[in-house]
Each structure stands twice: as C-alpha cells, then as structure tokens.
Amino acid sequence: MSNIVGIVNYGIAGNIHSVKKAIEKAGGDTLVISSPSDFDLVDKIVIPGVGSFKDAMQELENDGFIGLLKEFDKPILGICLGMQILAELGFEFGKTRGLGLLNAEVKPILCDAKIPHMGFNKIQVINSNKVMKGVEVEEFYFMHSYEVVNYTDIAALTKYGNHSFVSAIHKGNLYGVQFHPEKSRQAGIRLLSNFIQLEG
C-alpha cells in the first residue's frame, strides 16, 4: 500500500521547504500538492503554516483546494496556521471563514507576556493520541500570535506566561499542532514519524 504524504503548497507565503525536509528525515515519501488532481495521489496531508489566516484562505480558494481538503477522509496534520485554518473562523486581519472542520475560532493571544509567543516550550498532554506518542514530555518550537479557541478536541495545552492555550488538537482524521515539529529538533521528527505511520 502506498503511503505518500502530500504537502499543501499554497501561494507565496508557505514555507513548504522545511516541512518537506523534516518529513523526509522522518522517513516519509512526500508529494507537494500544487493542483487539485494531486489530492488523488496522496495518502495523508500536511498543511504547513507560514502566513496570515486571511491570506492562506484566499490562496486555498484560488487554488481550488477548499472543497478537496474538506472532503479528504484520510489523516490530515495541520501545523501552526495549518491547524488554525481548520477552524470555523479566524480574526487575523479582519474576520475570515476557515475550513470549518473544527468547532473553533482563531483569536489573538491575550496575555501578559511578549507576543508573538516564540521559542521552545513544553506541552501538557490532555488527551494523548498516536501522533503525540513518545513526545509527551518534549519541548517544541512555537512561533505565533494567534491561538485556536476550542473546548472539545484538545489533545494538549501549553502555558505561556500565565496563559494556557490549545497547543494540539485531535478530531477523527484531523490532527493539529500549534508548534512547528519541523523546527523542533528530534522531538519534532519523532512526531512526524508517528503521523507518517498512522494507518489511513
């Protein structure tokens, strides 16, 4: 059975390079999804995340990817903005509709500490899953000003300053991490390896 990880390439903003390198390091075969027909060729999807919510949704719309992502029933891993756009609504540069796969909104982080939240930080696993297995006590690299507000699909929380936010989600075939596994040394590679090994 084939096991190809598709990486969604959206527009000028996405840094797919480092995600691709990391998935390959984790032992995965990758295919960069640049057109709608590529969705038929892949067994899993990673949505990377560099950019703003508004811009990302616009690019996905222009590329004709929105319907295909909504219908994809095999494992999806959203990274940072890639997790955020799974939500219903985002509030970065105005109000933008997301993919609506997750009952959540994406709002600015409001807390006492410096924003964006940047750097390695711990996660506190609330509901473990196969993707988080073996990395529960590791530190991951965060780089974000917005957070996913969700109450029903939380896999992990992270504390920043005195503020806790959702740092990982899991709902059916959907996995999401607010941090960047591709920027989190061996712990990140391990997480990606777990994702690659999921059964479709």
């Binding site: 930080n121 690299y141 780089m143």
Partner: protein, 251 residues
C-alpha cells in the same frame, strides 16, 4: 519562560565573518558548517545576516542559505538586502522561517513592514536595529553601522511594532564584536518599550555578560556570535551556566 539562545552568523558570502564595530572583517568559517555545529550544540535558533548585500545592493546568495537551512530542524532567520514583499517570499522559499529587515525599512519605506506582516504573519517579520549611542539617546544606523538615519531607536521600535513587526533583533554598533559586555541600558529600554519579543545581540564576552543581560533586561533571546566563533564557549556551556544560575532555557 525560556530565554532563547541563538547563534548569529554574519555572512559576507561565501564566509561567516566577524566584524569588530561592524568593520575590520575576519573570516570565521563556512556558513553551513557553522550552522550545523551550533545546531548540534543545541542552539534554539539561527540568524543568518548577509552583511554586505544591502551595502552593495547585492542579492543574498540563495545557495548559501539553502545549504545552511537544509539539515537544520530549528528556526532559521535570514536577512540582508530585503527590499520587497517578493524578497521576503524568495527567502521563505529558500528555507527561511523569519526574514530580517533593516536598511530599506529605515531609510526608504517603513510600510514594507505592514505589507510583509499582512502576507506572512507578524511572527515572520524581524526588524534589525543597529543602535548607536548619541548623547542620552540611541540613533538607528544601517548598512553595518555606517549610515545614520536620524531615527531615534526607542521611537522606531514602537513604530515597527505598530506596523506589525513580530520581533526585534537589537544590535549595538558601539558594543558589537568587542566582547566587553552588552549595552544593557539600551537593551532594557528597548525591551520595556515594546510588547513584542526582543533578541539582544552585540557584546557577549563571557558567560557572566549573558547572565547579567538576562537578569537585568529580560530579553526574549540572546544572539551570540564572536564568543561561539572563537570557540570560547559552546551553546551547551551557555545553557548549563544559565540553568545553574536559575535562568530558564530550553533543553
């Protein structure tokens, strides 16, 4: 909160160089080899600054960046000669996670910060400040501390924050490369002026210097160059020393 320990590579292609007071360059090695070395030592991040590209209006050498970014699974910030949203985009596609801008924003068009933040998110936009003390204030310089801008550092950092910058790389023209300690007064003032993270560079001469900076100014990160390039200490030495002093750093 962990204070980030960052290795900074000042590059004059094809070498990492070490300017003293931003002048008198010494060759320190090959960018990708040094990047690899500091990654293995446990650096939280790498900053790669092409220090001549804006001076000679030259584009950053794409291959150098790509080579350095290739095998490193930590964030990689790249700067030098950035003039347009298209330049930002090119750097992200070469493997940069953040793009560092100075000259163009200070001297020509500050609105490039707004434009880049809107397209790439503010976490990806780092503004480099080259501060030089002038009477009781600090003035922004560009092009490796050679060209004055007339802009006050504390006003400028607030302006770039409002425009959407996600982080500040603070360098001191006076302290850079001398290994005699940071300009802690400057660092404290900048950290207190903004709500975005500030990474402080220029002047680390010892582990004590770094500890003192963190204890007094509380920057989000410290970027170290000479101290590492001369093999005086490793990243792991810095982290162990800080941890033993009660300062939180990542593993």
């Amino acid at each position: 909160m962990n204070t980030r320990i960052i290795a900074k590579l000042d590059v004059k292609p094809p070498y990492v160089v070490k300017p003293v007071h931003f002048e008198g360059l010494r060759k320190m090695g090959n960018p990708s080899q040094l990047a690899r070395k500091y990654y293995d030592q446990g650096a939280d991040e790498l900053f790669y600054i092409d220090i001549v590209s804006s001076l000679y209006q030259r584009k950053i050498l794409a291959d150098g960046i790509r080579e350095a970014a290739n095998e490193l699974f930590i964030p990689f910030a790249v700067g030098g000669g950035v003039k347009s949203v298209d330049d930002f985009s090119k750097m992200f596609h070469m493997g940069a996670d953040k793009v560092v801008i100075n000259t163009h924003a200070v001297q020509n068009d500050p609105s490039i910060i707004n434009k880049a933040a809107e397209v790439f998110g503010n976490q990806a936009v780092v503004v480099n400040i080259e501060a030089k003390k002038w009477q009781q204030n600090w003035e922004c310089y560009t092009d490796c501390g050679r060209i004055q801008s007339g802009k006050d550092v504390l006003e400028w950092v607030q302006e770039v924050e409002q425009r959407g910058a996600g982080e500040i790389l603070l360098q001191s023209v006076d302290a850079d490369g001398r290994r005699k300690g940071f300009d802690i007064e400057l660092a404290t003032n900048v950290v207190d002026s903004v709500d975005i993270p500030v990474v402080v560079s220029s002047g680390a001469g010892s582990l004590e210097d770094i500890k003192e900076l963190i204890e007094i100014a509380s920057p989000s990160g410290v970027a170290v160059a000479s101290l590492l390039h001369y093999d005086q200490v490793t990243i792991q030495d810095i982290k162990n020393y800080l941890r033993n002093s009660g300062i939180m750093v990542s593993q």
